[in-house]
Amino acid sequence: MGLHGTGQSIASTLTARVPLAVAPLGAAEPSGPALSLAPAHEQSLVSIIGVGRHWGRGKDRRAVLRDVDLELAPGSAMYISGRNGAGKTTLLRIVTGILAPDSGAVVVDGIRIFESWREYHRRIGFVAAGDRGLYARLSVRGHLEHAAALAFLPRRDRRGAVDETLVRFGLAELSGRRTDRLSQGQRQRLRLALALLHRPTVLLLDEPRNSLDAEGLEMVAGAVDDVVHRGGAVICCGPVGEPPAGGFDRTAVLEDGTLRFA
């Protein structure tokens, strides 16, 4: 079991537990008491520490995440389920850095997002929910080549990474095809391929089953296993009742803004 820690145990590993607002991009580190990382915390690949987030203003203000704690050790995979609107996507978006938490912090491989956007995101692969994020008139290979450059892969590795990914996700025969001429399932495979091309240390999947057939689901499971075997960590979110694709160490339900571990 690579996953360790719940809110209780994480709190005990912190010598100074303080709400830690993630600063805006380019801003200085927040003032106030520094977060002291105890040994168990340092061993984690992903640390979500006391993360809170609300949506709305005034009367409509609603807490979506309340003091969420989660630690993932290298070689672990976590499946989080929850009702629609429970905050699963919000949690993943906070980990990607697209969204700042109201309180708390996320540490990936010892790096917080405002310390180095570049190094933080070199380690992350993210598949967003839905079917957006592709250029209709760009080929499958064109997407992957662009993603390889965005991931700062060295020139010598890029072509090999693209070719390998095409084969791995069953896209080799479609490599020259524009994405507006792909089926929904083929597009979803491409979206997965784009997130995994650079062999991320941390894989974040938001409802990845979208339109995938059995073969596609096996590819998701294979991708999860691959990240875990490489010593990475996976967080996958999906609706309640949907079986996870892949081998997950542990599952939790996100309910009332908190994670309830199974």
């Binding site: 991009l25 697209i98 570049r118 957006r132 700062f152 020139r155």
Partner: protein
């Protein structure tokens, strides 16, 4: 791979991506060339009605306006970056760039790179066509320094473009770009010399990089006398470029931070 190499590689890859998508619309470039030829034909004949010497180049209003038009096209390409980013937001494609090592500011700059580069190339083609078809009197010796001025101007314009992207990300609106483009098309000196305007409105030509860039390009390509000294015009252009890029990139970073806190960064 060093960080600098990574940024440059990602920028070039994004330019390649945008060029591929642009080329997939087969008639777009032909349509642009035809539109440009029609416009030049119109101004070629309008120029025959303009009194000699009205623009500082005796009997050469056509050449004056062609340089104005191509420069304005570069400005428009830069200022339209916000529209491109808006399209990427709507399509959900900006997200991949934002959560990559390239980051949001690098992503926006790379989105702006192809349209600006293309507009500079298209400006060159337009000038060649004007010389070949309409006998446009270009000074060949002025072309290399004019390319340098165009690049410098493009950097300054790109800075303003980033400012409108910042407004887009922070307030989900970038209508200001349209107003600036419309205003500069009249007050920037594209079609008429700014000295023709009343004194109280001429200050507009002093507070933006477009007019000095245009003055320099006309001086280099046509031999016109710039409104102010060449050194001063060049100084203004360099100063605008050096100031605008860091200020506007900073504003963009602040807008990204605001969008992250509000949760609206990827929304439109």
């Amino acid at each position: 791979m060093s960080a600098a190499t990574g940024y440059v590689t990602a920028l070039l890859a994004t330019m390649r991506r945008d060029a591929t998508i642009f080329a997939s619309y087969r008639f777009r470039m032909i349509s642009q060339m035809l539109a440009m030829l029609f416009t030049m034909t119109m101004f070629y004949y309008i120029a025959k009605l303009i009194r000699p010497g009205a623009t500082g180049v005796h009997g050469q209003y056509f050449a004056y306006v062609v340089v104005g038009m191509v420069s304005f096209a570069i400005l428009t390409a830069a200022l339209n970056t916000a529209q491109l980013v808006r399209m990427e937001l709507v399509a959900g494609t900006l997200e991949r760039m934002v959560i990559s090592p390239l980051g949001p500011v690098g992503g926006v700059v790379s989105i702006a790179a192809f349209p600006i580069t293309y507009s500079i190339c298209f400006a060159g083609v337009t000038l060649l066509a004007a010389a070949e078809v309409f006998g446009f009197p270009v000074r060949l010796i002025g072309i290399p320094p004019a390319l340098g001025v165009a690049a410098l101007a493009a950097i300054a314009f790109a800075g303003i473009g980033l400012l409108f992207v910042a407004a887009l990300l922070a307030f989900k609106a970038a209508a200001g770009a349209t107003w600036v483009i419309a205003g500069l098309s009249i007050l920037g000196g594209v079609y008429f010399p700014v000295v023709l305007f009343p004194g109280w409105i001429r200050w507009v030509s002093e507070v933006q990089p477009f007019t000095p860039a245009l003055d320099l390009l006309r001086h280099l390509l046509l031999g016109t006398t710039p409104t102010q000294s060449v050194a001063l015009e060049l100084f203004k252009l360099v100063a605008f470029s050096l100031m605008l890029i860091p200020i506007c990139a900073g504003a963009l970073a602040l807008a990204v931070g605001l969008g992250r806190r509000r949760g609206t960064l990827m929304e439109y």
